[in-house]
């Protein structure tokens, strides 16, 4: 009967890329679920950014693909009307899924399934995107490629992103602001604004940011 969140309050500006960082079991997924309208047992309020399309997409911690549809059918489930077949081809290609389009989810490795879930999210061309550890269980190379892809997608269209991650480097590479949470019941422990332009964040720059971060939040990660 203990609250999972208590007085958790933060803001993400439209078109901003925010990361949620916090210990395992603190309430990150719960927060995402509330914002997605999946959990109703909470007090307080939230507001999603309003724009024309108002499409939402999410990548859950587990891929949650429909087992009775192939990878391609899963991705086409919520396809943005604007998207052409060649856009889809491109998407499958960068995600390394071209050979897997007609496989069923039970025939995928976890990493492939996760990428299929990412493809589904990108294919909706969302204006708000929720990601719950999207790059876990991927090898570093693939993860890096996908991080770059995410950055590209984010630059190309005005998308508000809220991403949960346990990987601080990843957060520093991608986010505009990092929201650090306390252990359960989750509260905002502090906010770290990454004031460096995204183009300039190469490996050494991220190392510097890392030091910065550790100075401000010495007891985290």
């Amino acid at each position: 009967m203990i609250d999972v969140l208590r007085g958790l309050s933060f803001e993400v500006r439209q078109g901003e890329f925010a990361c949620l960082l916090g210990p395992s079991g603190c309430g990150k997924t719960t927060t995402l679920r509330i914002l997605l309208g999946l959990d109703r047992q909470f007090s307080g309020s939230y507001q999603l950014p309003e724009d024309g399309s108002n499409r939402v997409a999410a990548v859950f911690q587990e891929p949650v693909l429909l087992p009775w549809r192939t990878v391609e059918q899963n991705v086409r489930l919520a396809l943005a009307p604007r998207l052409r077949d060649k856009d889809l081809d491109w998407l499958f290609d960068v995600l390394g899924l071209s050979a897997m389009r007609s496989l069923y989810p039970s025939e995928l490795s976890l990493g492939l399934a996760r990428r299929a879930a990412l493809a589904r999210a990108f294919a909706t061309e969302p204006s708000v995107l929720f990601l719950d550890e999207p790059f876990a269980s991927l090898d570093e190379r693939t993860a890096d490629r996908l991080r770059r892809l995410l950055a590209t997608v984010w630059e190309a269209r005005p998308t508000t992103v809220l991403m949960v991650t346990h990987n601080l480097r990843e957060a520093l590479l991608l986010a505009d602001r990092i929201i650090v949470l306390t252990p359960r019941p989750a509260q905002v422990h502090g906010i770290f604004d990454v004031r460096l332009s995204r183009d300039l964040r190469d490996a050494p720059a991220v190392d510097d940011l890392l030091l910065d971060f550790h100075q401000r939040f010495p007891d985290t990660v």
Binding site: G7, I34, G44, Q47
Partner: protein
């Protein structure tokens, strides 16, 4: 995007809700059931008023017959006979049906081979099985119960087979890795997954069995609700037919509310409250 979440308790709220439900659990359902039965009685009595017919007596007339039959001891006797037959056939049918169903559901070859047999037995009219049973084994209780079970087993097989086909292989693999014994496997892996299918087979099963028991009693028993119902059908005493029917339904309802539902609530308490 702004979020000011005072106190969200995805988890705990659910738990609290569950506890609340359990707290009310003992009172609310009873009230709802009473209300539900009242509603049914009202509709019935209204309908009987609107379309009066000898074939559709009002609840009160049925109630009076019920009391009379109960007072004479007939109701109790015949009900008891029918109930024991239903219970015996149920146990036999569920046991054999579940085992066969799970085996067929998990062995594709056997399934292909035996499927035609299953279709045959599934579609064999109750009449044929019952008459054969009586002719071969005489007009005994064993023949009666056996005939009912044979009628019902294919239905159980079909349902449990679907359940076995839909098993999640990940749990079986986990059991293989951790070398669970066959008994543990049965109790902890197989049965929880088959529970909804078992519940479905069981519920519609008892109803089907009771209906076949009626035919069995009609064709060759000198006691039981089926015997009585058919007697009253010949003199077209619908009130008496309904009285016997409702007496059985009432008992089924009691079993459902006092045994089946608490058990099911217990067996499915791990599911997310809807």
């Amino acid at each position: 995007m702004r979020a000011g979440l005072g106190s969200a308790n995805g988890a705990s709220a659910n738990r609290r809700m569950r506890i609340v439900l359990q707290g009310i659990g003992s009172v609310l359902p009873a009230a709802t059931v009473a209300l539900s039965l009242l509603g049914l009685g009202l509709i019935w009595s209204l309908a009987a008023d609107l379309w009066p017919s000898r074939a559709f007596p009002p609840p009160l007339a049925v109630w009076r017959v019920l009391l009379k039959e109960a007072a004479s001891g007939d109701l109790g006797y015949h009900l008891a006979m029918t109930l024991w037959r239903v219970a015996a056939a149920y146990v036999v049918a569920m046991l054999f049906g579940s085992v066969i169903g799970v085996l067929l559901g998990t062995h594709r070859r056997a399934d292909t081979f035996f499927n035609p047999w299953l279709v045959l037995f599934l579609n064999l009219p109750a009449l044929v099985v019952i008459v054969l049973a009586y002719i071969w084994f005489g007009l005994t209780e064993a023949a009666a119960v056996g005939a009912v079970a044979v009628n019902k087993i294919p239905n159980v097989v079909v349902t449990m087979r679907e359940g076995a086909r839909a098993l999640d292989f990940r749990y079986a693999e986990m059991a293989t890795v951790y070398r669970l014994g066959p008994l543990d496997y049965l109790r902890h892996i197989l049965m929880p997954q088959l529970q909804p299918y078992f519940a479905a087979a069981s519920r519609s099963g008892i109803a089907l069995i009771w209906k076949i028991v009626l035919v069995v009693e009609l064709l060759g028993r000198s006691s039981g609700v089926g015997f009585q119902i058919y007697l009253y059908f010949q003199i077209f005493d619908v009130a008496a037919i309904l009285a016997y029917t409702l007496a059985f339904v009432a008992i089924m309802l009691l079993i459902e509310l006092l045994l089946v539902q608490p058990f099911e609530r217990h067996a499915t308490r791990w599911r997310r409250p809807a």
